[in-house]
Each structure stands twice: as C-alpha cells, then as structure tokens.
Symmetry: D2
Subunit: 136 residues, 4 copies
C-alpha cells in the first residue's frame, strides 16, 4: 500500500495447527494476536520494549481494532506481518498492519488498532516526549 | 443502543483465566471468539444451525471485523453478548454485537462482522431464500 | 469411571469454530481451557470462588497437567466437562476431569491437574482449614 | 536432561501478551501450542513437513499430552522449545519437549505427547518406512 508509513517493521510468522479452524484457515481472531506480536516488534525495533514502557507506568490499551480479511491463510503458511504507527494524538496513537504472503506478492489481510495511553490508574495521559521521540 | 435490531439474541458468558492477559482483563482478540459464539446462537435461535448451513454447501467467511473496547472485562465476570444481523446484501450479510455487564447497565464493547456467502469452491453465491427467510 | 470422586460438578459446553483446528476437531490445547472452566465451577459450587481465594492471598498454580484424548470432539458438539478434587496434600491438591458427549454415553477425554497452593510471593503454604472445609 | 534424544530441534519463541493470563504468566494451555510448534519444526528439520505427511494420507493425532510446569514464563520472555521423538511404536510415536530460558540455564517446563498414526478414515496404520527413515 502506497500510504503505509515508511518507518515500518516486518515480522515473520509460520501458521501452526492451533491457529487454524475447521475451515482449515487461520481463525479470524488470530489476526489480532499477530497484530499484537508485530506492534511489540515495532516498538522494540525503535529501541524500547512495551514491557519497559509499562515499567515506566504507561499502558496502551486497545480502544478499537479492525481487520479486513482478503485472502485466507492456511496451516504451515509462512507470512509477513507489517506494522507501523500512522497517527499520534495527544494521549493516543494508532497502528496499521498488513499481512503478506511469503514473497510479499499479495496481501492476506490488513487492519488497524487505536490505543489510548493511560497511567496505572487507567487515566489518559499525554504521550511523553521520550515515547514519541523513540519513533522519530 | 437504540438502533440495535429488534430480532436479537443474548448469550451469557463467564470469563475464564485463559481468556485474560497480563493486564488482568479479557484479551482483545477474545472478543472475536465471543462474537462468533453469539452469532452461532443467533443462527440457532432462528431454527437452523451454522453447521447445517455448511452441510448444505454454504459458508460465511468473515470479510471484516471490528470491535470497540469501552470498559474492560475481568476474570470471572459474567457478561452478556448480544448479536443480530443488521444488513443483507445480495451475497453477504452483516452482524452487530454488544457486550454488556451482568445487569445490562453498561456496554463493555460493541462491534460488527461482515460476511460473504460462498460455496464449497469459495465463490460468492446469492443468499438463498430459505436462509434469509429463517431470520424474518 | 467408577473411581471418580462423588462430589463432582458438570459443566455444559458447546464447541465453537475458534476452538477447532484444521482437522475439524477440538484442538488439543483447548481441553486445558475446559478443565480450567470446570474447576472454576467446581470451586464455585462449593460456596467460594477462585477469585475470592486469590483475594485472600492464596494462589493455585498448575504444576502438572495431563490429558488423554479418546474420541474427537467436533464443531458445535455439546459436551459435558466433569471435575472434582481427588487428592489433598499438605500444600497441594489435584483435580481430575472427564469430558462426555451430550447424553453421557461415552468419554471424549479425561485428565488431571496438580496444583500447588502458594502465597503472593509464590511460596508454598499449607492448605488452610477454611479452604479444605469448603470441599467437604 | 541427560536422557533427551540427541537428534533434537530448538525453536525460539517470544511470549506475547495474548499468551499470558491474569497471573502475568504464560497460560498453562499455551505450552501445548508451543509443543506443537516445536514438533512441526522437528519434522521439518528432518526433511519433510507435517503438511506433506498429511498430503500422503497420514495423520498423527495426539492421544495423550502431559506438561510439568517448573518455573513460570512471563510476558516478553524469550524462550527455547526443544523437541524430539523418543519412542517408536508399530503405529505410534512419542515426542518429548523441554522449555528453557534464553541462556538455557534452567528449564521452565517439560512434557510429552503420544501420537497415533492413522489414515484418512482415522484407522491406525503402521508407521511407513519413509516416515521413520526421515528421523534416522
């Protein structure tokens, strides 16, 4: 997709039996697990881990998730999960995702998640400079 | 929600440990499992089961799913999952969902799924009369 | 089974698509989720909930789990999960489980879990009288 | 473990949020998913894939699974899953597993699975020579 953010990360994944369903394809809820894995990698690739973010007292719960399923993924398929932050709010940010086949010739699915940034008490907090700076 | 279809179904659910995550809340992908459970119940409550639909050679893969997470659900919470079909296309239909707390005083989450209707070969097929009639 | 403890609980469950795999059967790890659901119900049926046990500062992590898979369970099957405590140690206890078909004419699977009882620091603690008394 | 088969495979894995539970540790059923991933890798590392085995008309359902949980695994932990076949029957075989921390200094868990070999109709079939030869 031409409008995918340039600063992205690609996570390799192989589909296990446990992720498939009786239609012999990757179950639709499993895509959200893959999105989570890829955004963890995205954060890590920018020099901090989400675990460290939490240790500093910041949490990024998902407020909204969406996925479009374009071509099914099957058992043992090797796929790529691409992730990037594409929008910053005052106390929030959004991730976008694309799932590609092994040679990246087509898209299996794409989606997005919207995150609030909250403190330990669950109250929204402005995105701190060090957090945003990590992704510049 | 005032615009939720009148012909709905309510599925009771209790959250297990296995559905929670390290934030001590229902993991965001688990909502899609609950949506699936509730739409199975919706179809069943209308006199047919999705399993029978498949036996007739019709399949309803998810083309898009969305969920808005409004208030977290915790371990051992009893919740209600409400489901209904809110739109019919020529070869497709949409479900909407709401997840309520036990006394139905607030909404934990709401969402939707868009389904194609396809045959065994995966090709779109018009919604048959007997299928649509079941939900009238 | 003739040697299943008399004081048991039966949990009804219907298998969703999300619990199946590409072999069209209940995925083998899902049985442990069902075991967990049934032991929660067992504890609840004895007048206390595991959530309350945790609130008192006691935790019961699984030290060992085992399952024997005898006859596959399929999508939309209604099954029964039977659970009971069958052994008490000084700082531990064991659960046993059986999964039956709808009319309870055969066993799909059986298994067991061994639990330690630990405090918030993860150290083993003797089973308190009030806990054991609940199951008499 | 001194008696682990010499011909083994090691699969690297990083624990995601979706695999943890409200105790902030890897949920006990998730270990069976990891066992499956590692035995897929074991088969693949021997020159054939389980998918190809299935395409030839052979299936290896799990008849029994067991796991011993020794030290908890936490969110974002990098772990190693070790797998090997340790026993051959006429129409069956067994896998053993160990889960290690990143520097392989201790064992988080170990376990085993027993597999039947069956044909498309689900009937036991003797282990074919080409299958067993692959693991020599």
């Amino acid at each position: 997709m031409s409008d995918f953010p340039e600063q992205d990360v690609w996570l390799a994944h192989r589909v296990s039996y446990g992720e498939t369903d009786a239609m012999s394809v990757l179950y639709y809820a499993e895509y959200l697990h893959l999105f989570e894995r890829s955004r963890n990698e995205y954060i890590r690739s920018n020099g901090i881990t989400y675990k460290e973010v939490e240790a500093k007292g910041f949490f990024a719960p998902v407020r909204r998730a969406e996925c479009r399923y374009r071509r099914p993924v099957r058992y043992d398929d090797q796929i790529w999960v691409r992730a990037a932050i594409n929008r910053w709010g005052r106390a929030s940010f959004n991730f976008v995702y694309e799932i590609y086949n092994l040679d990246k010739s087509f898209v299996h699915a794409d989606g997005s998640t919207e995150h609030a940034l909250v403190n330990r008490e669950g109250r929204p907090v402005p995105v701190p400079d060090w957090f945003r700076a990590a992704f510049k």
